[in-house]
Amino acid sequence: MTATSENLSMVETPGVAWRKQIRFALIGALSSAFIALAGMPVGLDGRSIIQPVLSMGFLSLLWVPFVLATIAGSEVVLEGMTARTRDSKDLLAGGIVGLGSAGGLVLLMVLIQNFNLRDPLVNWSPQLLNLLSFNRSLAVGGLLWVLLGLILGVFGGAMHVLPKKLCSRIRTVVLSVFAVSVLETFLTDLLEGFRLEVLTDFVYYKRGGLEVGGALLVAALALLIPLLVGTRIRDVKKQVVDLPAEERKRVNLILLAVSAALLLVLPFFLGKIANELLANVGLFVLLALGLNVVVGLAGILDLGYVAFFAVGGYTTAVLTSPNSPGFSPELPWPIALIVVVVLTGIVGLFIGAPVIRMRGDYLAIVTLGFGEIIRLLFLSDWLSGWFGGAQGITNIPGVDVGIGTVKGTDPRSVFLLVLVFCAIAIYVSWRLENSRLGRAWMAIREDEDVAEAMGVNTTNTKLMAFVVGAVLASFSGAIFSAKVGSIFPTSFLMLVSIIILVVVIVGGMGNIAGVIVGALVLIGVLGGPKQPGLLQEFSQFKLLIYGALLVWMMLKRPEGLVPNVRRTRELHQDEFLQDAWLKGEIDTGDQEELS
């Protein structure tokens, strides 16, 4: 046994896979050409990252050679193998990928110059050629791109050659500069709240983007801060982990209380835009937490989740708005909310009951069907006497909370209200996950037949998941309708279900923190189906990015950005089983037989 494992560890991973590099070079060429034709370079040129050096438009092309070269250079090191030492060949490999990507662009430039591509491909504008050739001639532009591609490709390959620590430093710096630039609106708003306009003026250019000096400052900070406090944070963390359970609990509680207090104070330092943004994020956090119960915990893929959001929104509208066409009791929002919760729960049962026994994939399509049916009913003339058809319901009053009214014109109050409900949703998810019901959900997700054989009533348990998910979505719907003040069927397209699903998956299925991070990153930065995010310029590309992200996450990181230990294992079961098998060999219980 030991002899074989030693033999195994002598095996080195094979050298550079040249065919793979060529393949990635082709992928790079196609991606660059696609991005250019999609109109990203011109469309995003208005958003500058570092003024006047780099704009989002250029970045949309520049990342291709670098990232693809890095991916093409990564090698799988199997159990028992040692990674080979990387050398200059890897730089060359990166260069090939970079050249390929640039080559795609150059070819495209030639094509654009000589043929009329705009007949079917309408989305790129004639400025593209100027932009790509840096306002010079085609030859100069082409040459520049080849150079850029080569440099970036080699640099991407170098990420495997350079020492690990240096690479991670570089990554931190680049990502920090990018993040600070993306967060411009938000940070400006926040710093203004603290009367620190001086800082903003120094870091940011007046009309958007970082100043060169600002970028350097950010880069320096990104380099220095980990050096200064990096080890100290690790020490503190270790101390906390080493504490006895009782005290650790107390520390966690204090941390929780402090962050809750900070969150409650935050809205008062933020301006309208930032508050509005965070309120939107909060609405999606609510929706995503609900879907997380259904998909992440119980393993039921509900594609019609938007139906519950719609029912929540419409019920609130009907109950509170004086303009409700049919039945108009004009209830105050809190009382309406109770009705909404009960009603959405019932709708959850109604939709859940027929689908609960179906196979997972049939269930997905049928729930999608239900989602569409509900939207079509709200839209139809048949029920327009109740829900206003395409005209929707308008004039929905805000939420009267004694000291003031929460309504869309005052994003700060909306954000505070959303925060309260997010807290409720987080508490509910957390408590349920660690309860009899939560364990039953997980058992069903793992193996439904066995769960049933172990005494779990799968029908009722799965229905409960539907109902809990529905109720959480109805909170979001109720707040949404009070916030926007009017409600139309177009707010509840099936697109919304998919976006919520992407949020849950990108964050990490079955993981509360992950879902919140997912919503912050996606809805906050890219924006929701109709709500703009920080990168408003991306609005015409954001759905494309959502789709690509969903595929990429499923292929490469199905456990999400913030992985939940359990899910990770389930999703990488093959690797893990192999691992467990190896461990099984040295397991004391089995070794006795050998003796």
Binding site: S435, M442, A453, G455, F576, G584
Partner: protein
């Protein structure tokens, strides 16, 4: 009256008789082994008792009540628990959670208790945890040594089998159905488990029906052996009698061979 009584049980899968007019009964406190060559319908037999397959004809009566038409969870609630031939744990739940979730049908805290952390909820959680640990400690040093908050997938193969039995025990059954409990274990481990199966009856009071290929286990632990072949009972009785039954030997070996001792593991 016997604890489990099965009369004229048949099931057909698309014209194929998986089980045909099976008669079977178990008295309280018995350990019965069901043996037979592969494809004899043993696992189907278990699936039928536990409600995962509905028979085409016949009746299954457990403690005076027919189990026909019950969902598997309801069967478990009546007091019958099972393990699976190809170990099917909740691999990504922790060891403790595996035995905790098995107590689902013995507990009744719902959303309200979990949300408001009522006294009843906390008490029940404690009780579930305690009972789970108790069940796990039955396997002694085998399952200890693992931290119980590790996922079940880290367990070695033999331990997964043990955990599966523990999970079945946690449902607080009266009748335990074990599907090849020692498959894949080495002789030493299977001897140990054989002893444990005996203790499951003497200490925990379970009645046990077990499918097993390992004849030494069958010999050592069972009061009675039932031999299935092609969905029919071909022999029944104490081990010594069944082992020498020419029909049984024929079923296993395909031809009659004197009075050869089939002491070792018989596996086609």
């Amino acid at each position: 009256m016997s604890m489990l009584q099965i009369t004229d049980l048949s099931v057909t899968f698309g014209g194929l008789h998986a089980l045909k007019d099976l008669q079977f009964e178990v008295d309280e406190g018995e350990i019965v082994s069901v043996i037979g060559p592969n494809g004899a319908g043993k696992t189907t037999f278990f699936n039928m008792i536990s409600g995962m397959v509905t028979p085409t004809a016949g009746d299954i009566v457990f403690e005076g009540e027919s189990l026909l038409g019950l969902d598997p969870s309801q069967v478990t609630e009546r007091g019958i628990a099972r393990t699976f031939q190809n170990v099917r744990l909740f691999a990504n739940m922790t060891i403790l959670e595996n035995v905790m979730v098995a107590q689902h049908c013995r507990t009744d805290q719902r959303v309200f208790g979990a949300l408001f952390q009522t006294q009843a909820f906390k008490a029940e959680e404690d009780a579930i945890r305690k009972y789970g640990e108790e069940v796990l400690s039955f396997f002694g040093s085998r399952l200890v040594g693992y931290r119980l908050d590790q996922p079940a997938s880290v367990l070695s193969y033999a331990n997964r089998r043990r955990l599966e039995i523990a999970r079945a025990m946690a449902t607080r059954p009266r009748l335990l159905l074990l599907d090849e409990p020692v498959a894949g274990m080495n002789p030493r481990e299977s001897a140990e488990l054989t002893e444990l199966i005996g203790r499951l009856r003497s200490e925990w009071g379970f009645t046990i029906v077990m499918i097993e290929h390992d004849m030494s286990v069958v010999r050592d632990v069972s009061d009675r052996v039932v031999v299935l072949d092609h969905g029919e009972t071909i022999a029944q009785g104490p081990y010594s009698q069944v082992a020498n039954d020419p029909k049984v030997i024929e079923a296993y070996l395909g031809r009659p061979v004197g009075s050869e001792q089939t002491d070792e593991e018989v596996r086609p």
